[in-house]
């Protein structure tokens, strides 16, 4: 009996089964189509309907692109050429691209400067965005703001150099005083040292206005998509650190700091950006001592930065709240102090969780820079609505102009979004 049992149960394979290709219905395109487009009746109907609408859409839009007219200098000529047929007047882009990109007043022969600043932006921001690049390159990123200011606004190179020297001197004063007598003393000596250097620097650069100078371009001549890029870049890079500080402040156990942060965040979030911009335009001047004429762009930057910092702070607060208490305790029990455990343990994790929210705010901020058109600044939308649409040559052209604006914004925002998704994949260490 035991023999028969062994024969039915025991089993040894003596030949190898050769590998075979999977059946055709289970691979490649056919499988994909079947699984994704025609997996059920409902799905099949939806697929067919969608194909129908896509085809209709393409048929409707295609001639608009295909018949597009280039090379005319006004809308009337373009319409004449089209002669009633559907078609776009792309010549507005050809005729007015300078204004759309650089605004109405930036000198033509200086276009290379913002373009170079933009190219350098791509280079210098790379070490910040990609941690695999050598850390030494971060020096480039630190130098960039000063270089870009000089390129875009012009004037003597002494101004940005002096500002930079002020920061460096302030930094050394800070570390020296902090080690000796604490954070507050450090901060105070930063402010004092930097102010002194800036004051002296102001005298020096005022005395030598021609030293390695570029033609000066005043802020009010900035415009077009360049203005959106300037505002977007500066405000995003300032509002992230400010948002972090606000979020940490809101968690603080010190009631005064906590109170200030809560009031700031709740107030700024509760007010529409557009009112803040009006405030920047007219009211803010009252808050500064008479005689100081704070640049309008600077005022707008302050407002947009505060606005998005309040949002970013709340996003980061969500990330902080998502961290288990054990992470704080582990840091404490190892003897790390507050700033170390924040910098090394809490923030890296909280920021990682917050990436989608932060990117959401950043993309929103970038698009909101077009709101400056309502306080009569000629950003891309301002240029379109003002000088272009109200000119006799191009009045009445909407699709081509705004479509182009939308395309420019889309490219940038989509780029940011793609980067953030890549970054999230890079930082995913928990379950790999």
């Amino acid at each position: 009996m035991s023999d028969t049992h062994a024969q039915t149960v025991a089993f040894v394979r003596e030949t190898q089964i050769p590998p075979a290709p999977p059946p055709a219905t289970e691979t490649g395109v056919i499988k994909w189509v079947r699984e994704n487009l025609f997996s059920s009746w409902v799905n099949s109907i939806l697929t067919i309907l969608s194909i129908y609408f896509i085809v209709r859409g393409v048929i409707a839009v295609y001639p608009w692109f295909a018949n597009g007219v280039w090379g005319t200098s006004d809308l009337a000529t373009c319409r004449q050429i089209l002669d009633g047929a559907t078609g776009a007047c792309f010549s507005v882009l050809q005729d007015r691209w300078r204004q759309m990109i650089f605004g109405i007043a930036y000198p033509d022969d200086q276009y290379w400067r913002p373009l170079l600043a933009f190219a350098l932006l791509l280079v210098c921001v790379a070490p910040v965005l990609f941690s695999k690049l050598p850390r030494k390159l971060l020096i480039l990123s630190a130098l960039y703001p000063f270089l870009a200011y000089w390129l875009i606004w012009g004037g003597t190179i002494m101004i940005p150099i002096m500002v930079m020297v002020g920061f460096v001197a302030g930094y050394y004063a800070f570390t020296w005083a902090e080690r000796a007598s604490g954070f507050a003393a450090g901060l105070a000596s930063f402010v004092v040292t930097a102010s002194v250097v800036w004051f002296i620097g102001g005298l020096i650069s005022g005395a030598m206005p021609g030293f390695i100078a570029l033609q000066e371009v005043p802020s009010r001549d900035m415009g077009g998509f360049m203005l959106n890029m300037i505002l977007g870049t500066i405000c995003v890079s300032l509002s992230l650190p400010l948002g972090i500080v606000l979020a940490l402040g809101r968690q603080s156990s010190m009631p005064i700091i906590k109170g200030i942060c809560v009031v700031f965040i709740e107030f700024i979030r509760g007010v529409p950006l557009i009112t803040l911009l009006f405030v920047a335009n007219v009211v803010l001047a009252y808050f500064f001592p008479p005689g100081t004429n704070l640049d309008l762009i600077l005022r707008v930057i302050i407002m947009i930065t505060m606005f998005s910092a309040a949002y970013i702070a709340e996003v980061i607060r969500g990330g902080l709240a998502a961290l288990p208490k054990g992470q704080y305790e582990a840091g404490d029990s190892l003897g790390l102090n507050y700033s170390q455990s924040m910098r090394l343990i809490i923030l890296p994790q909280a920021l990682k969780i917050s990436i989608p929210g932060i990117v959401n705010v950043a993309v929103g901020l970038f698009k909101d820079t077009t709101l400056v058109s309502v306080i009569s600044m000629f950003d891309l939308v301002g240029v379109l609505r003002g000088p272009i649409l109200s000119s006799t040559a191009w009045t009445g052209i909407y699709w081509e102009a705004f479509g182009f604006a939308a395309l420019l914004f889309f490219v940038v925002c989509y780029g940011i979004s793609q980067y953030s998704q890549w970054l999230e994949r890079q930082l995913r260490t928990d379950h790999r």
């Binding site: 288990p324 054990g326 992470q327 305790e329 582990a330 404490d332 029990s333 190892l334 003897g335 790390l336 102090n337 170390q340 090394l344 343990i345 890296p348 994790q349 990682k352 930082l427 260490t429 928990d430 379950h431 790999r432």
Partner: protein, 263 residues
């Protein structure tokens, strides 16, 4: 009493209790709001002691050992660790925390850092050890807890038992003189419990002063030189393990022991 019979090989030759006081707690009280969690705790721990703290859930065991490294504040009485009085002075707190290592029930490793970085973080930033040296020390302790080959993985890629051993190694890298354990094995599967206990036994064999909150009674009997039973925020009974298990004095201890050993 099945759990008490499991025999672990414990080499007691190095386990010596000296007269030097490591932790001195005097009539310490703690409240959460109006709730009196710890009541009149008096406890003196000598260097080299292995103390196991047990008691029913909610009796304040975790709170007690968390007071020792100031993760929780106490409101009355005094705690002195290695001669440093625990007060609200941040300097004292930092000194004590760098002398006292702690292991948590849920490991609390830093998920965004590799195992090696987890171990080198505090030595580099708190002790200002050069990175290379910190890494050597870390590898030494990772070898000791028998996971040097996982050094470049992330915590999420390790099993629970491995994570807890990393957590122990991470504390050891700070070269602490006292180790606190808060239920280090209660989130683990049985076969992982053994590997963590083995690590803890090895530590005890080397003469580390240890305070363990644990319900591993086998460990308590073999390794501890003193078992403390807590209930409702008080130390109800403490004794040598043999006496404690075989001859408990208080009724509450008897009830507790019958519940955890009886099944």
């Amino acid at each position: 009493m099945a759990e008490l019979q499991t025999n672990m090989d414990v080499d007691t030759s190095q386990m010596k209790v000296s007269d030097e006081v490591a932790i001195d707690i005097q009539s310490m009280n703690k409240w959460y709001g109006a709730f009196h969690v710890l009541r009149d705790i008096d406890l003196t721990v000598y260097r080299g002691e292995r103390i196991v703290i047990c008691g029913p859930s909610g009796s304040g065991k975790s709170t007690l050992i968390r007071c020792i490294n100031a993760l929780e504040e106490h409101q009355a009485g005094s705690i002195t660790v290695d001669g440093t009085l625990l007060s609200s002075d941040l300097k004292n707190i930092d000194t004590i925390r760098s002398e006292v290592g702690m292991c948590f029930q849920h490991f609390n490793l830093f998920p965004h850092l590799t195992i090696l970085e987890n171990c080198t973080l505090a030595p580099i930033w708190v002790r200002k050890t050069p990175k290379k040296e910190a890494e050597e020390v870390a590898m030494h302790f990772l070898e000791k807890v028998k996971i040097p080959d996982q050094a470049n993985k992330y915590p999420g890629q390790l099993s629970g038992g491995q994570q807890q051993r990393v957590a122990i190694a991470r504390s050891l890298c700070m070269k602490p003189r006292i180790m606190l354990f808060d239920e280090p094995t209660s989130a683990l599967d049985p076969e992982m419990i053994k590997e963590v206990l083995d690590t803890m036994i090895e530590l005890a064999e080397e003469g580390m002063t240890m305070l363990c909150v644990t319900h591993e009674m086998g460990f308590a009997r073999q390794v501890a030189n003193r078992v403390i039973f807590m209930d409702a925020g008080q130390i109800v009974e403490q004794n040598e393990p043999e006496e404690f298990f075989m001859n408990p004095k208080s009724d509450r201890t008897k009830l507790f022991l019958s519940q955890i050993l009886g099944h």
